[in-house]
Every structure is written in structure tokens, then in C-alpha cells.
């Protein structure tokens, strides 16, 4: 299984529709402070079903939608789609290619799609359960989180791996 492409529109600083292709191997993302690099990480985390606002550095759904800036108006919806090659069936879905999409509106409402079919959050969570490890996405500033955990808390990292 591997990531193919991420499409972002209206999520945080991505006022412009943005497409990021992920070849195999190592992809690096660089740029000035505040340009949107960690927002890309947040977009991946969010589309995979993250429900904790603090893991996304915000407090409510509205914070995730482009709030406007300069001369540009705020938008009404955030949308992120992650397209995954699933030929090896790592994800429990019978498709060679899986596109997970999530939308949020200022009302706080969320919508979820698997290959264009509208589904519930739990369908997304079930579909992505092979990816649900605590070490797939390492947020900025949290690399040494494993060291600050109490020994009992560390155990859960291993339970993910087991």
C-alpha cells in the first residue's frame, strides 16, 4: 500500500486547490515559517479521521476552514482527499485504488466519502485501521514524546505494534 496523491481545498491555509503527488521513497517538504508545511501533515491526519482538535492544533471545526486573509474572503468548506494504492489490500476494501475524502462546513458538520460513496466516520476508521498506529504521523515538537511518557503510557506504543 502507498500514498498516491493528496488534494486540499479550503483546509487551513489551502485557499487554493492544491494537489500533492507522493512518489515512492522519500518526499521532503520545505518552506518558510507559517507557509503551510505542518498544515499538510494536519490535512493527512484529518482526512484519516482524526477527531481530536488538539492534535490538529485547533479548538473547533471552524478553525480548520480557511478564514480569509489579505484581500481574500473566508471560505465555507474544507475538503481533503487522500488517494491510496491498495493493490496489496492492506486496507480492508476490495479496490486497487482507494480515495478517502472528508469535508467540513462552518456549521460543524462533517461528511466522509470512500471512492465517492458517502459513508460514516466509523467506515473511514474501519477502512484505515491498519494505519491507526501512534507512529504513522509525528507532529512538530512531539518527536521525543515517547521519552516524556510515563513507562506505563509507553506500553501503548508497543500494543499498536503488536
Amino acid at each position: 500500500m502507498y500514498l498516491k496523491r493528496l488534494e486540499i481545498q479550503g483546509f487551513k491555509t489551502f485557499a487554493n486547490r492544491t494537489v500533492i503527488e507522493f512518489p515512492l521513497g522519500v518526499t521532503a517538504i520545505v518552506g518558510p515559517n507559517g507557509s503551510g508545511k505542518s498544515n499538510v501533515t494536519d490535512a493527512i491526519r484529518w482526512v484519516l479521521g482524526e477527531q481530536s482538535f488538539s492534535a490538529l492544533r485547533c479548538r473547533r471545526t471552524e478553525d480548520l476552514i480557511y478564514s480569509g486573509g489579505g484581500k481574500r474572503a473566508a471560505q465555507g468548506m474544507a475538503e481533503v482527499a487522500l488517494t491510496i494504492d491498495n493493490t496489496d489490500r492492506t486496507l480492508p476494501l476490495d479496490f486497487n485504488e482507494v480515495t478517502i475524502m472528508r469535508r467540513s462546513f462552518r456549521s460543524g458538520e462533517n461528511e466522509y466519502f470512500l471512492n465517492k460513496n458517502k459513508v460514516r466516520l466509523r467506515d473511514i476508521q474501519e477502512a484505515t485501521s491498519p494505519l491507526a498506529s501512534s507512529y504513522t504521523l509525528i507532529n512538530q515538537g512531539l518527536v521525543d514524546a515517547a521519552l516524556t511518557l510515563r513507562p506505563e503510557e509507553r506500553r501503548s506504543l508497543f500494543e499498536d505494534a503488536a
Binding site: 492544491t18 521532503a28 520545505v30 509525528i138 513507562p151
Partner: protein, 166 residues
């Protein structure tokens, strides 16, 4: 004692010791199960960078902490690979020698794991086969460009994206 957990633990512990020594270019480290008979047992980390005596984890430097945590991450990824791993500035505290060793470790694993690395560090960038530059326009909107390695200038500590002529 959950024997699947026990198996996973000992595999990760083995990989962790090896990854630590590779990343530090020396030294030793271990993962210790506090109470092997308890299924609630916590996991302790003993880290001994090259030339140093065994000391409490809190005495480690910022860069040593980062690298020790990365060694644990590498161990977990080797025992139970995830198809991809996104790392946001895990190299922020590392000196140049450690950045080089981190880069080699990630390259070696990139055969089986797709890495997305957010970084300001030119040394880390050299591991990448694909490079994206993110910039901010005056409306607070992000713009992403595919860039080449020669468009990055290491100029006073963090990379800067430049236009190249021709």
C-alpha cells in the same frame, strides 16, 4: 503475560538497541520491561550515548533526546512497518553529524516505507527523491511547488527556496 506482546516487545527491544547505536555512531541503549510478569508493566528506556556513563534520561541533551526517540520509532517501524510515515521536523534539534546518520537510516528504510519529511534542514532534504516547496502568498494562502534540489540554498542555518536561472 500476553505472549504476543512479549514477542513484539523483545523484537522492538532488539531493533531499538541496534538503531540507537547506528544513529549515535556508537553508545548503547536498552528497553526494559519493569515487571515482566505484569501485563500492566511499564517500559523503561536506558540510553547511553558514546563515551558516557548510564544516566537518567532527563540528563540527555535536546539532540540526544530526539535521536533516542527516533531510534525507538525506527524499531517500531521495523517490527511492524506502516506503509507510510509523516515526520514533521524530527531533525530540528540535531547537529549535522546526526542529521547525516538519520538520513541514512531513513533512506535504508524507504525501500519498504514511504516517508514524508517536513524539514528546514538541507542535510535531511538530501534524502529526498521528491521535493516540494511551500510558500505563503499575501492572502495567507499556501502555494506548493515542485522544486529541484539546486533551488535550495542553505543560507545561515535553514533552507531557502530560490528561483534558478534557466
Amino acid at each position: 503475560m500476553n505472549s504476543r506482546f512479549a514477542q513484539t516487545f523483545s523484537a522492538v527491544a532488539e531493533e531499538f538497541s541496534q538503531a540507537f547505536t547506528r544513529l549515535f555512531g556508537g553508545g548503547t541503549a536498552q528497553l526494559i520491561l519493569n515487571d515482566p510478569n505484569s501485563s500492566e508493566s511499564g517500559i523503561d528506556i536506558i540510553a547511553q550515548p558514546p563515551g558516557k556513563r548510564r544516566q537518567p534520561l532527563s540528563l540527555l541533551s535536546g539532540g540526544e533526546r530526539s535521536l533516542t526517540a527516533v531510534a525507538l520509532l525506527v524499531a517500531l517501524l521495523k517490527v511492524n512497518p506502516t506503509p507510510f510515515c509523516v515526520m514533521d521536523e524530527v531533525d530540528a534539534a540535531l547537529d549535522e553529524a546526526n542529521v547525516v546518520r538519520l538520513r541514512e537510516q531513513l533512506l535504508e528504510m524507504s525501500q519498504h516505507t514511504q516517508f514524508v519529511l517536513v524539514t528546514h534542514n538541507r542535510g535531511t532534504v538530501e534524502a529526498a527523491s521528491t521535493l516540494y516547496g511551500v510558500t505563503m502568498n499575501p492572502d495567507g494562502a499556501s502555494k506548493i511547488l515542485s522544486i529541484r534540489l539546486d533551488q535550495l540554498v542553505d543560507d545561515g542555518g535553514a533552507v531557502r527556496i530560490v528561483e534558478t536561472v534557466g
